[in-house]
């Protein structure tokens, strides 16, 4: 704004920089504490930077195969989860946005109502269901239950409703089938909405904690948050390693976010609220 004076501008810049620093501080601190010597992590008085920068904690935690494995397994699971979730929810979104079929209204209500079921209310009975299906301690129990999401479907559908009909009418007249139009007209245009929904699914999977602790006991399938929680209760003296592990566990998420940040931030629109 051109009405601001120079002083006002510098005040505004200073405040913003300070808030940014405060917001990032806890993360920076945990990453930096990972470089401290074992005895120094909880030493008094408080020091931000280590006396000597050591990579010991980082090499130790990376030398723990269960940690590395849980990072890899969780990452693989999260990518698979995001991909499946996009496939399932986007095809339903397309159907509800464009196709006309018997019982459409009924199906819509059925799907949308599930959005209001609180996760905690079905936590235990979901466990019983997956137990009966023999899914415990498999990758499937981590991935499948959350794939279908009425919320994500709804979000993608809103996006599809804004795609002009004219784009597909030409293809329809040429005799292309509805499924063809979905793959050749809609999917190529879906990138902006897929980034937001895909990252959302990825994050939900990566950060999930309660469900894995209930359904996974096999260390080969340990999820990263489950690993950190267990580490904290079982090896509570190794603070430096816990700090290093926490920092590393946030790293893939932060990198992924930085790659797509432009799309994610511009996707935060509240125009639908009016």
């Amino acid at each position: 704004m051109n009405t601001l004076t120079r002083t006002q501008k510098s005040i505004i810049t200073t405040i913003s920089a300070a808030v940014t620093l405060v917001a990032l501080f806890p993360l920076l601190w945990v990453a930096i504490a990972g470089f401290k010597e074992r005895s120094e992590v909880l030493a008094t008085p408080f020091r931000f930077f280590p006396k000597r920068w050591l990579v010991q904690n980082y090499t130790d935690i990376l030398g723990d195969w269960t940690f590395v494995q849980s990072m890899l397994v969780t990452f693989g699971g999260a990518v698979l989860f995001a991909a499946l979730s996009l496939a399932v929810n986007a095809s339903a979104a397309y159907v509800f946005a464009r196709l006309d079929f018997k019982f459409k209204g009924l199906m819509w209500v059925y799907v949308i109502t599930t959005m209001f079921v609180p996760g905690m209310a079905i936590l235990l009975t979901s466990f019983i269901v997956v137990n009966k299906m023999g899914m415990l301690d498999t990758l499937a129990v981590l991935v499948l239950p959350g794939v279908a999401s009425a919320g994500h479907m709804f979000f993608i559908r809103q996006f599809y409703l804004n795609i002009p009909l004219a784009l597909e009418e030409a293809a329809l007249i040429d005799g292309a089938g509805r499924a063809r139009i979905f793959t050749s007209v809609f999917l190529p245009m879906s990138f902006p909405v897929f980034v937001i929904v895909g990252i959302g699914s990825y994050l939900a999977f990566w950060n999930s904690f309660v469900w894995p602790t209930m359904t996974i006991t096999n260390p080969h399938l340990f999820q990263i948050m489950q690993y950190l929680y267990t580490f904290r209760s079982e090896r509570s003296t190794e603070m430096g390693m816990l700090m290093a592990g926490s920092a590393l566990s946030a790293l893939p998420t932060v990198i992924l976010f930085l790659i797509f940040q432009r799309h994610i931030i511009s996707g935060i629109k509240i125009s639908g609220l009016k």
Partner: protein, 299 residues
């Protein structure tokens, strides 16, 4: 639907539609609908993993509603939400008002940076803040030391435990809330402010008569989603205090989770979770009613 008229020029596509809908419908049925009705049924039974279940009518609901620990946990959840949501909204509103005036280049950097905590898991946030609150070596007591204040056992003291958990909750939610606020602020036409300036309105008058009324729907949305999200919070108290000291930080969902893990009978906790769902729904409805009682002004 207005669009169906132009779509129905073409024939119905039952086969394609059902084929593409099958995955979502099947998955939702197995993992949401069945567990939900199952939970409804179980809430009326004296059900356990180890013995025959017995129909008990509304007894589980009665037991939950007369359990002081459950009522306390709902009260704790409310207090927690009252600490987190208003402070988060005020802070992010002020911050968004500042960021709005930044040069586009710097504001891009600021937006990205403040958003980063939003993507951090509750577990990692808990680990970090437990260190910050450490009695001898933590940052919080170190800062108090500057002012000559005695160290505080943040997470172990009944008076400070819940507010101490509220801080990481604000930290986690601040970025997204600010960006939503900011996008709301950008939607207000600059000409309104210019007109007000010509009339001689100051900063405060502009905020009170233009910004806040036009931000009403955004604030309402953030209030309702914030409240339901914060009352449902349990990861922070699970990892940071495990509900302690005493049961000062047991939020409703932590109460339910603890019962799942420790009780033989689960009908109780399922009844509790269904009740909580009703409580949360009513709170959102009340907030909506109160704030929506005057007609929102269209921007």
């Amino acid at each position: 639907m207005a669009k169906s008229s132009s779509v129905s020029k073409f024939k119905q596509d039952n086969k394609t539609a059902y084929l593409l809908l099958a995955p979502i419908v099947i998955l939702l049925t197995i993992f949401v609908v069945v567990p939900f009705f199952y939970a409804l049924v179980v809430s009326f039974y004296d059900w356990s993993f180890y013995q025959e279940s017995k129909f008990v009518g509304f007894r589980n609901y009665y037991l939950v509603l007369t359990d002081d620990l459950f009522l306390e946990s709902v009260w704790t959840g409310l207090k927690f939400a009252l600490m987190v949501v208003p402070s988060m909204l005020v802070l992010s509103f002020l911050f968004a008002s500042v960021v709005k005036n930044l040069s586009p280049r710097f504001s891009g950097f600021v937006k990205t940076s403040v958003y980063i905590p939003t993507i951090i898991s509750g577990i990692v946030a808990s680990v970090i803040f437990v260190f910050i609150y450490d009695y001898t070596a933590g940052l919080a007591n170190y800062i108090l030391g500057w002012f000559g204040v005695e160290p505080i056992a943040w997470l172990a003291d009944v008076r400070t435990a819940l507010p101490s958990i509220a801080v990481p909750a604000v930290w986690l939610g601040f970025g997204l809330t600010s960006l939503i606020m900011l996008s709301g602020l950008h939607d207000i036409p600059e000409s309104y402010y210019e007109a007000a300036e010509l009339e001689g309105a100051g900063t405060w008058a502009k905020m009170r008569h233009i910004t806040i009324p036009l931000m009403r729907n955004v604030i309402l949305y953030l209030l309702v989603t914030g409240f339901t999200a914060q009352i449902s919070q349990f990861e922070l108290s699970l990892v940071m205090t495990n509900g302690g000291p005493l049961s000062e930080t047991v939020t409703p969902n932590l109460y339910i989770l603890n019962h799942f893990r420790n009780d033989v009978m689960v009908g109780n906790s399922i009844a509790a979770s269904l009740l909580l769902f009703v409580v949360l729904g009513s709170i959102s409805a009340i907030i909506f009613r109160v704030l929506n009682s005057e007609k929102a002004i269209d921007g």
